[in-house]
Symmetry: C2
Subunit: 408 residues, 2 copies
């Protein structure tokens, strides 16, 4: 039997189970829910083995069978994927977590985990014939989509809150994308994109209104499985804004069970959604054991990527947490900045504030006993610290004064 490049079959609504064939540009279900990509995993199971994976190139395209892009010719790739799994031995000692690891999603094109969603999303957009796309963003996603779109020859309209980190604005401009600023938050940008897309016929790639970004993000889950030697850690902490990464990782684990690579009765890692105390809609919903989150008023945090007052996929995030016996936890900006600093000074990696939040959460959960000392704990760092220069204070004059030629 012929092996397919992709085993993608259709899009399915996780709420009402309606199906869509995915051969044309598709957004939400008629019921308003995001759609999820489905594959013929039963047939794939007969063809695919872990052994085959071992000699494939270290990019997310090594999982092409479970990605929605049907033809390799439509692949828009900058070599993204297989980011390092790094042992945080020194920091782990201070937390009493000898098995503390970080997956460093800063080492992707554009310096953030958003490259995964952009690579797969733009490739699929190219495959279904999209010529112009539009997206609201807190920065990193817009930068990634603008750059991948330029590689695909697709025009990109990117709308950001005025307060978005400046480097991501420059990335959109470098890419030749069309940048617009909104004096508001991401949902205001989302509204503008929605209106403009309707008016101009643009392909709206807002979080989860476009069903393939999550497929790019889920490759984190497949990589974690490979990097842990075909096992999984006990706890995974994820900085949660729109939550697509967390939904994607959970989706990957379920697919791995269906493929038989994880035993069907295996306990999955407890998934932890980490938010900022000043923007914590998922945490609030989790504490009240709700299945949907409410809009968070007056959201504001230095970890701009998780400044999302209302996520369209909130119910999927909460489901992933409940089903894995995970939790949702908020940390303060001071706490996440303190751990960001610790990671740089003790482990040599200048991570982003959102990444810092996961370490602050790991520390707290260890202190409370929710995480045991012998557990394998994975923090997801979603981007490079150099994209957030202001998290380090710097003035030339302070370092000219202490010139090395002066004895000290």
């Amino acid at each position: 039997m012929k092996q397919n490049y992709s085993y993608f079959t259709h899009l399915e609504c996780p709420k009402c189970k309606e199906e869509y064939d995915g051969s044309t540009a598709t957004h939400l279900c008629v019921c308003g829910s995001p759609l999820l990509a489905r594959y013929d995993l039963q047939r794939l199971k007969e063809h695919w083995s872990i052994e085959q994976l071992k000699t494939r190139e270290p990019t997310l395209w090594r999982y092409h069978e479970v990605l929605p892009v049907l033809s390799p010719a439509n692949r828009v790739s900058l070599g993204e994927g297989m980011t390092p799994l790094v042992h945080m031995e020194t920091l782990g000692k201070t937390y009493e977590l000898p098995n503390l690891y970080m997956k460093d999603e800063g080492l992707l094109p554009t310096g953030s985990f958003k490259a995964r969603g952009a690579a797969v999303g733009v490739s699929k957009a190219k495959e279904v014939g999209v010529q112009t796309l539009a997206m609201p963003t807190n920065g990193n996603a817009g930068a990634a989509w603008a750059l991948y779109a330029s590689r695909a020859g697709i025009q990109a309209h990117i709308v950001m809150p005025l307060q978005t980190p400046e480097i991501t604005k420059r990335e959109v401009i470098a890419a030749g994308g069309t940048l617009s600023l909104i004096d508001g938050l991401i949902h205001d940008a989302g509204h503008a994109v929605s209106e403009a897309s309707k008016e101009h016929g643009w392909y709206n790639v807002s979080t989860l209104k476009e069903p393939y970004r999550i497929e790019g993000k889920k490759t984190m889950g497949y990589e974690i499985f490979e990097q842990y030697g075909y096992h999984l850690p006990d706890v995974i902490l994820y900085p949660t804004g729109g939550g697509v990464g967390l939904i994607g990782i959970y989706k990957a684990f379920l697919e791995l069970k269906t493929l038989g690579w994880i035993p069907n009765d295996a306990t999955l890692p407890r998934l932890v959604a980490v938010q900022s105390e000043t923007c914590a809609p998922i945490v609030k919903a989790y504490e009240q054991r709700k299945t949907h989150a409410e809009v968070w008023e007056n959201a504001e945090t230095i970890a701009f990527g998780i400044n999302v007052p209302k996520a369209i996929g909130d119910f999927l995030v909460l489901e992933a947490i409940y089903e894995t016996n995970g939790c949702a936890l908020a940390v303060t900006d001071d706490e996440l900045l303190a751990e960001q600093k610790q990671v740089a000074e003790r482990e040599g990696n200048w991570i982003c504030p959102e990444g810092g939040a996961t370490f602050a959460a790991a520390k707290k959960l260890r202190q409370s006993g929710w995480i045991q000392e012998d557990e394998h704990v994975l923090c997801l760092n979603t981007g490079m610290g150099i994209k957030y220069p202001d998290t380090v204070t710097y003035h030339d004059e302070d370092y000219l004064k202490h010139s090395i030629t002066i004895k000290h």
Copy 2:
């Protein structure tokens, strides 16, 4: 026979052939020349095969047999290496170079190729018991060494010209390194480091005064060999400041010949040293067929990483060029910035200005006929564009005016 983790045997002077055992902190040869690491490649040849490489982790440590770190316990790693080889199909068409590729060294910890030298250099420093190191830098190297040093528990003193890109200063501070600024160029910083190191007994890791950085850099050559399917391209263009990368790549190719992985009579890629017209000591020496370069007066270029008026390894760079029938070529700042822009707009990758210089050079060499249309051409991008935000012009007000909600 037992397989070693490393087949490192000693350090050798490429000028006077004096040998050093490398078990303690070692710098230049007594004759003033940099030292090169040597391995028992004949014995290694019996133990090592390409086949073994195929299932190793995608980091530069896959080549541990030809790295100087004797024990894996001394490895200071953030997961660096196996950076993507990206086909530049669209840009290649405009150059009439269908086989134009880029190796993207921006996808390394700290966002530049300097991570390779830092990973191996700091690991070896740890192995020989170094507690404090000092280095002059044009920015990226200092950032990388400060961060890897913090991971190793080594104190780092980093000295930079005042004009160094600000993000790299912040990286040093984030790492908890000691930053000093000099109102001068990199050789002034080098002088300060030299004096202070003598005074305080610090380990001076200036370019090529420390013999192991080049071993990290040479892994680029091994990766190129693997990524081209165990062959090599026809031409490799490298932005050349201190030139360690170019020397390293050449060293790798010679080692691959000794290992028998490249036929002994194979033609090596023509190595091209690319410099800025306003700082081109290697180009000047090449044009005069000299074996050493003179100090370049009043050096200044936006591609700060190649603003090196005098390189201690100049004779090794020139040897690599002459031996491979390569060349050295200068481009203007306008030319390199124009190609940096082209790469972002057509290929979706915001590269650094130094990387842009290699594309400008490829274009010129194709136009002059020095590169033929059917040749396989590889440009080395040494860092991320986001480390050079000012290469893109940006003002908030320009993008608020063109808000997406206004019809256009």
